[in-house]
Structure formats: structure tokens, C-alpha cells
């Protein structure tokens, strides 16, 4: 009897795998027929290109068209194209979770659950299953170690208000970056708009992308970055630049950057294949290792020289709150800082 059971089981297993494989094959084949996936992404350019190249190596014949710009620019782009009836984008990935609340509300998203997100923490998942957090970063302070010692460096967000930093600071812009929109929302909740009014007294240099402050501080053009994704600071530091990261005691704004497939995606199969791929353990691990990002994947291991998310006091902003307050944040920031 036993051999028969064993044989039946073995046969079933083979059939199951073959079915799975052929289902996968059919998916890949359908995606390959579409030929490409168009990705509007706010992930820093070199990181985004790296993910795209990994995908193209894993699935030859399917190209990833990377269009990298700031989260807020992506929003403008998507809505503008929608109005002009242009259907170009497949997968949208920004660092302003409010965008996805709005997209979902307008019926612009495909309901799709990427493989392997079951174990992700709640903060990475839309309760209705339309969008999922692809990666996370926290806003931190960074300073140039040639100009400042660890003792002289600011320790808290409030330290940055000291007039001695006048002309020495750089900030990125919520009109461009979703990381910064989230940052401003979190710090307004913590310290109020007065904090930013006082910060403006120190006349920080205004750059656009949350990637840029790391370069400005590394070159020595300004001494302290008052915000910016800590992954860009981490990468810059790893390249041997004189830069150190400070995670302020009051807490660090956590930015979970969602990704979703648009309802009108011209390449739906390639979009799903690509989305699954970006949530795979391998790619999530790459993002943690070489890019210095945090992810929701429970099995991902982080570099020893980065603090664990659990060790940091996190300031979170609800996506729905971001959706409601985004425009006000951008407007007031421009009023306070001048451009």
C-alpha cells in the first residue's frame, strides 16, 4: 500500500510543480508579449536603475522603462497625463502615501497583492489591498565631519534652530519630494509650523530632491542637512564621503513608500511580474544591503552599521492625513521659505 501512496504523492507533487511552473511560464510569456513595463518611480536614480537591471536580467526580453523624478512631480505627471488621456505609466512608486489614498479613491489603481507580502507589517499594507510599501526610509540629520566634530553636531531637530547654523543648512523641498512632504507633516505634528518659521530664519539652501542634501553636505557646500532620506546619507557615507548621520532623539519621520499598478496600465502582465519581483526576498535584500533602505520583508537582514527600525523612535503619518494635508504643506513651505 505504502509504495502506492508514496508514488501517488510523488506524482501529485510533480503535477503540482509542473502546473505552477507552467502558470508562471504563461505569466512570463504574456509579460514578454507586452515587452516592457513603464515605471514612474521616486526611488533614487542609481537605485532605481539597479532594480530595473536586475529585473531585465531575470526576465530577458522585458524592458523596464525607468522614469525617475520626485514623488510630487510624479503625481503631477500622472494626473496631467490622465487629463490629456495619455496612457503611458504601468507602475507608480512614490514616497507620499497620500497619493495612493487619492488614486484609490478615484479608482485609478488595480487591486493586486504581490507575492510574499503576507508577512509584512501592517504599516506596509493597504487594508483594501491596492498598494503595498516597497521600501522605507527615515528622515535624519546629516553633517560634514570635516567641518564639525560629533560633539558640535546638532542632536535634535530643535538644535537646528540655533542661529549659529545660519547659512550652514540645506533642506530638500516638499514640492518635489514625498520623503520631505512626509517629514514636514511629521515635524509639524511634533513641533508645529513655528518650528519651520524659525528654521527659515537660518536661511537654509533649498534643494529639490531628498537625495540632494547628502551631496550638498558631502561636497561641503553646506555643513548640515536638516532632512533627507537616511538611505541616501548612508550610501554617500559608504562611498567614503566625510558625512555622519544623526537620528534625533525626538523621533525620526518614517516614510513608507508604496507601489501600485495603475488601473489603465498598458502592460498589465509585465506590471504584475515586475511588482512581484520587486517584493521578492532577493530584491528587498538588495535594497537593504547596497542601498541602505528599510523594507517590510520579515526575512531581510540589515547591515550591522545601520540602526534597526525597532531601535528608533518612529514618527508616523497616516496616509489619509497626508492626502488631506499635502497641498497645504507645500503651500505653507513655499510661503515660509520663499520658493
Amino acid at each position: 500500500m505504502l509504495p502506492i501512496v508514496a508514488r501517488t504523492l510523488a506524482f501529485a507533487t510533480v503535477v503540482l510543480f509542473a502546473t505552477l511552473a507552467s502558470a508562471q511560464d504563461a505569466r512570463v510569456e504574456a509579460a514578454r508579449k507586452e515587452g516592457k513595463v513603464v515605471w514612474y518611480t521616486s526611488l533614487a536614480l542609481p537605485s532605481a536603475e539597479k532594480v530595473a537591471k536586475l529585473f531585465e536580467a531575470a526576465y530577458p526580453g522585458i524592458k523596464v522603462e525607468v522614469h525617475r523624478t520626485g514623488s510630487e512631480r510624479i503625481l503631477g505627471r500622472v494626473m496631467q497625463e490622465l487629463k490629456a488621456n495619455i496612457k503611458n505609466v504601468d507602475v507608480v512608486h512614490t514616497s507620499d502615501a497620500g497619493h495612493f489614498v487619492m488614486f484609490k479613491g478615484r479608482g485609478l489603481l488595480t487591486k493586486y497583492t504581490p507575492a510574499g507580502v503576507e508577512g509584512f507589517p501592517a504599516g506596509f499594507k493597504d487594508k483594501d489591498g491596492y498598494y503595498y510599501g516597497l521600501r522605507a526610509t527615515v528622515n535624519a540629520i546629516a553633517y560634514n565631519t570635516k567641518a564639525l566634530s560629533a560633539a558640535e553636531a546638532p542632536k535634535t531637530w530643535k538644535d537646528l534652530l540655533d542661529p549659529k547654523w545660519k547659512g550652514k543648512l540645506v533642506t530638500a523641498h516638499p514640492g518635489y519630494s514625498g520623503v520631505i512632504t512626509t517629514h514636514v507633516a511629521a515635524l509639524v505634528n511634533l513641533h508645529g509650523w513655528d518650528y519651520f518659521k524659525q528654521l527659515a530664519q537660518n536661511r537654509p539652501m533649498l534643494v529639490q530632491s531628498a537625495v540632494d542634501p547628502s551631496g550638498v553636505v558631502a561636497s561641503g557646500e553646506r555643513v548640515v542637512a536638516v532632512n533627507g532620506g537616511d538611505y541616501t546619507f548612508y550610501q554617500t557615507k559608504k562611498k567614503g564621503n566625510p558625512l555622519e548621520i544623526v537620528y534625533p532623539r525626538e523621533g525620526v519621520p518614517l516614510v513608507v513608500s508604496p507601489t501600485a499598478i495603475m488601473s489603465f496600465a498598458p502592460h498589465p502582465n509585465a506590471s504584475k511580474l515586475f511588482t512581484d519581483f520587486t517584493f521578492s526576498r532577493e530584491v528587498q535584500q538588495v535594497m537593504a544591503d547596497s542601498e541602505g533602505l528599510y523594507t517590510g520583508h520579515p526575512e531581510v537582514r540589515y547591515p550591522a552599521d545601520k540602526p534597526k527600525l525597532s531601535e528608533l523612535k518612529l514618527l508616523t503619518v497616516d496616509p489619509e492625513e497626508l492626502e488631506k494635508r499635502g497641498e497645504e504643506i507645500r503651500k505653507r513651505f513655499v510661503e515660509i521659505f520663499g520658493a
Binding site: 536603475e49 503611458n88 533649498l206 557646500e221 520658493a339
Partner: protein, 570 residues
């Protein structure tokens, strides 16, 4: 006997004219369509809402917004100082190269030309690396040498912006003044000298009044340039926390877009430009200077004496700011890992090139788009301006006077404003062009029309109509004469028009930045994208590619025309 008279008497000829007439009319109609549709929409949009019909609310919103008023004021300040500074730099330089025994005059002219064709936003970007208050190379050097703690110069702010814009705008004054000086004989100056006037008095009382129209006109052209620029203020003013009109208009396109306000704030810019051009026309139109324009008479070289070498040094200092330093730092940034660090072996890399060309996927399609658009616009544009200036010069249709006006009219439309108009016009029926390369093509064709037309017009003025009349007496139709007689004579002039349009297109940023979509990026837009993310190495690489393309084209014009592009005679 006029050509028309012959035509009337010969039935065959009459048919020839009838066949050609639709061509002229069609070309003119295309021109009207290019201009009228977008501008009509722009004006309408500024005084209406989609829901409620006509309103002046958008103007009220603009006028009541302190931020917008401040942007307007900043633009006025910028344009005024750029105009003055351009005259202060361009006029002496023109006089030195046109009239004196300054050493290396040919080289100097070539350098002015180089500054003329350098995309201003590349210059601005280079100056961030040169004179950023802390990391800027010149400021680092200054601190090292003097031990000072304060920077020598902060490029972020109005003075820095005026400086950089002037650096690439003074050639407009130079061209006007040098071309005028080349037409003024020395007789009057010598007469004054014989009557006992000193060298300074001669310059003040004789030479200056004669070049005054050129100075005013150069001033106005510089002001217009400064009004319309987008890239330089975006790179130098926004980090310092202020806007000019152009960057303000652009920021109104961010979500949620306020296109109506963008249309409303475009109007003052449009009116100011039109007004300034009107003034310029008046100034140039006052033909009271019989001494200017005569080809007779000698132009004697004025010896500079002991001032010869200091003058050269002054010229070289200007060129260092416009060419040597910016190009040098771009090259350095292209080949180094960290642009602010010394160029040591460990800092040397080809990584920026591999990244730009092989890893950054937007590069290649952007280069292809730019070249396609450049070639298409230049080719269609050159044919159009040739036909238009032919129509105007030979008075082929009723209302031919209007043709020149229409062809030159786009010069009053700053690139950003043109883009707003095109955006409004072509995101709706009957023609939805947004998202295609065609809308960029239309923008470039409109924007470059005046430059091409001016070149082509000069060419046809130089071709006497007698040869054509001879052809017509022998029985050829207009189109055939154009092909067999006129075109061969005008060929080099038309090729030059082609090149001017091409150079204008590959560097265009202010209209492109509003009209591009991810599928239709061009090089200037990619450079701007990279700037926002602070990818200095890749910007430098693409900047060098753009400069190489530009100078290759300039070389082609020089070869075809057999003289330099600035039109200054030796």
C-alpha cells in the same frame, strides 16, 4: 517692365502663377495657425474659467499674491541689471576688437561666439561648482590663499544670477556694437581730432552718439534674454529662496496645476517683451546717422599704446568667466568621482560616462529625441523661412508686409509663455498633441522662426531680382525659378538658417520643461532632472555632449558661410 506685366500678357505664365499661389498662401496660413491658435487660447484662458465663463479673477489672484508680485519684481531687477552689465562688458569688448590693435582679436571673436552659443543653464550649473559659497572651487581657493572665513562670492542670489546671465548675454550687445562700428568710417572722428579734440572727447562726442542706437538695442536684447530665461534662475535663484516669473510660471504647473493663473501671469511678460521690441524698432528706425552704413571711407586702427596688454587681460578675464572656468569645471566634474575633491588618481573615473550612457536608461532616448527634433525643426524651419522671406521680398501675395511681421513675432513670446500657450491649445480637440514629439516640434519651430527668418531675409535681400526676371521672360514659372535660379544662389544662406535653428533647438529648455512627458524627454530636460537630484557627474557628461554637438554645428556654418557666425567683418 515688371514680371507681373509679362505674366498678364502670357496665358502660359498666368497658369504658372496660379499653380504657385497656393504654395505661398499655404505657407502663410501655417504661420498664422502656429501663432494664432496658442496665443488665442492663452488670452482666453487668462480671462475665463471652464465652469463660469469670463472672469478677471485670475488677474486678481496674481495681483493679490505677494509671492507673484515679488517674482515679477525680481524679474524686473534681474533684467535691468543684466541689460546694464551686458552693455558695460559687451560694448568695450566690441570696440577693442573692431577698432584697436588689441592682440589676438580673431581668438577673442571666436570666444565671444563660444559664449553666445553656450546653453546658459550649463553655465549656471558650472558656476554652482565654481562659486558656491562654501564648496565652490574659487571660494575654496580664496580661503586657502587669504585665510578668510567669508566666501569671495556667493553665486546663489540676485548678484550671482545677474553675473552668470550677463556672462552669456553680453554677446548680444557685442554683435550690435561691433557690426555698427564696422560700418562707421573714421572720417568724422579724424575731423574732430584735427579740430583739436582729445581722444576721449572724440569718443564721447563723435563715436558714442553714432553707436548709441546699437547700445540701446543691445541693452534691450539683453533685457529680453534675461526676462525669458528659465534654467539659470531655477539653478541659482530657487536655492536662495526666490522666484522669477519664469520659474513661478513653471511652479504653477505642479499638482494641482493652476494653468489659468499661469496664463494670467504670462501676460505682463508678453506685453513687456512686445513693448521693448517696439522701442528697439523706434530707436533703430531713426535713420539720422548718414555716417553709419556707408561702405566708403577708412576705418583706422587705434593704437592702444601702454593699454594694449591690460586691455587684453581684461578681455581674457571676461572669457575666463564665460568659457575657460565653466568648461574646465564641467570637464573636471565629468571625470571625477567627487567634483569638489582635487583631481587625484583615486578621484579620477570614467564611471560618470558609463552611468550616463549605459546605466541611466533615459540618456539614449533623450539624445535620439533631441537629434530628431533638431533635424526635423531645422529642415522644416529652413524651408519655411526661405519660402516666407521669398514671398516677403518679392511681394508675391497681398499682405506680404504682414508676413515679415508674423515670422518675427514669436520673438516677443518667451519660451515659458509659448509653452503655456501650446499646452493649453494642444491638450484639447481638435489637435491633441501633448505627450508627442510633435508638440515640441511645434514649439521649437515657432520659437526659432525669427532667427531663421532674419538669416533667410538677409540672404534674399542680397539676391537681385534681375536673374529671376530673366528666367520668367524665358517662360519659367515662379516655382521653377525658385528651384533653378534662386535656390542655388541662396543655398549657403539657407544652410546657415538651418544651423541656427538646429543650435537653438538642441539647447532649448524653457518651453521643453513644460511640454515634455516621460516618453518625450530631450537632453536639456534630462540635464534639469539630474540637477534636481544633484547628479553632478552625469550632468557634466551630458553638458559636454551638448557643447560638442553645438560646436560641430557652428563649425559647419562657418565653413558654409566662409565667415564667422557673429557677422562681424574683419
Amino acid at each position: 517692365m515688371t514680371g507681373e506685366g509679362v505674366a498678364a500678357g502670357t496665358p502660359g505664365r498666368l497658369r504658372g502663377i496660379d499653380r504657385a499661389l497656393p504654395v505661398w498662401v499655404a505657407v502663410v496660413l501655417v504661420l498664422v495657425f502656429l501663432m494664432a491658435l496658442p496665443l488665442g487660447w492663452l488670452v482666453w484662458m487668462s480671462v475665463s474659467t471652464e465652469a463660469a465663463g469670463p472672469t478677471l479673477g485670475h488677474y486678481a489672484a496674481v495681483l493679490q499674491s505677494p509671492a507673484m508680485l515679488k517674482a515679477l519684481w525680481n524679474t524686473v531687477v534681474l533684467a535691468f541689471w543684466v541689460g546694464l552689465a551686458s552693455v558695460a562688458v559687451g560694448a568695450p569688448l566690441a570696440w577693442l576688437t573692431a577698432r584697436t590693435d588689441l592682440p589676438g582679436k580673431g581668438v577673442m571673436r571666436a570666444l565671444v561666439l563660444a559664449s553666445f552659443v553656450t546653453p546658459p543653464f550649463l553655465g549656471a550649473f558650472a558656476w554652482v561648482m565654481l562659486a558656491g559659497p562654501n564648496a565652490g572651487l574659487l571660494n575654496v581657493l580664496w580661503r586657502d590663499v587669504t585665510g578668510a572665513t567669508e566666501p569671495l562670492f556667493d553665486i546663489f542670489g540676485m548678484p550671482g544670477l545677474v553675473f552668470v546671465v550677463t556672462t552669456y548675454t553680453f554677446p548680444y550687445v557685442y554683435i550690435m556694437v561691433a557690426n555698427t562700428l564696422a560700418l562707421i568710417a573714421s572720417d568724422l572722428e579724424e575731423a574732430a581730432a584735427i579740430l583739436g579734440a582729445g581722444r576721449f572727447t572724440v569718443a564721447r562726442t563723435v563715436t558714442l552718439p553714432m553707436v548709441a542706437p546699437a547700445l540701446v538695442s543691445g541693452f534691450i536684447l539683453s533685457v529680453l534674454q534675461a526676462l525669458a530665461l528659465f534654467g539659470s534662475p531655477a539653478i541659482l535663484a530657487m536655492p536662495a529662496g526666490f522666484h522669477t516669473i519664469t520659474t513661478q510660471i513653471w511652479s504653477l504647473f505642479q499638482y494641482p496645476p493652476k494653468i489659468e493663473q499661469a496664463a494670467a501671469i504670462s501676460m505682463p511678460l508678453l506685453l513687456a517683451t512686445a513693448l521693448l521690441l517696439l522701442v528697439q524698432k523706434r530707436v533703430l528706425g531713426r535713420r539720422g546717422y548718414a555716417a553709419v552704413g556707408g561702405k566708403g571711407g577708412q576705418r583706422r586702427t587705434i593704437p592702444l599704446g601702454v593699454w594694449r596688454w591690460p586691455a587684453l587681460l581684461g578681455c581674457m578675464a571676461v572669457m575666463a568667466c564665460a568659457i575657460f572656468l565653466p568648461y574646465g569645471i564641467l570637464a573636471k566634474a565629468a571625470f571625477s568621482r567627487a567634483w569638489a575633491q582635487p583631481l587625484t588618481w583615486s578621484n579620477l573615473t570614467l564611471g560618470n560616462f558609463t552611468f550616463t550612457f549605459f546605466e541611466y536608461s533615459a540618456t539614449r532616448s533623450a539624445i535620439v529625441n533631441t537629434l530628431e527634433l533638431g533635424i526635423a525643426t531645422a529642415s522644416v524651419g529652413a524651408v519655411m523661412v526661405a519660402l516666407l522671406s521669398y514671398v516677403a521680398n518679392r511681394r508675391l501675395i497681398v499682405g506680404h508686409q504682414v508676413v515679415a511681421f508674423l515670422a518675427l513675432a514669436p520673438i516677443v513670446i518667451p519660451g515659458v509663455v509659448l509653452a503655456v500657450a501650446l499646452f493649453i491649445a494642444y491638450t484639447r480637440p481638435p489637435l491633441i498633441l501633448y505627450g508627442t514629439l510633435t508638440i515640441l516640434f511645434v514649439a521649437y519651430l515657432t520659437k526659432e522662426m525669427p532667427v531663421g527668418y532674419a538669416q533667410s531675409d538677409a540672404t534674399f535681400r542680397g539676391i537681385p531680382p534681375e536673374l529671376e526676371e530673366a528666367g520668367r521672360i524665358l517662360g519659367a514659372g515662379r516655382l521653377r525659378i525658385l528651384r533653378d535660379v534662386t535656390a542655388p544662389l541662396a543655398r549657403s544662406g539657407i544652410i546657415a538658417a538651418w544651423c541656427f535653428i538646429f543650435i537653438g533647438v538642441i539647447r532649448e529648455l524653457s518651453a521643453s520643461i513644460i511640454l515634455f512627458t516621460p516618453a518625450t524627454k530631450v537632453m536639456s530636460v534630462v540635464i534639469f532632472d539630474l540637477k534636481e537630484e544633484g547628479q553632478f557627474g552625469a550632468i557634466a557628461v551630458l553638458g559636454l555632449v551638448m557643447l560638442a554637438l553645438t560646436f560641430a554645428t557652428v563649425g559647419l556654418v562657418q565653413a558654409v558661410l566662409g565667415r564667422d557666425v557673429l557677422g562681424v567683418k574683419d
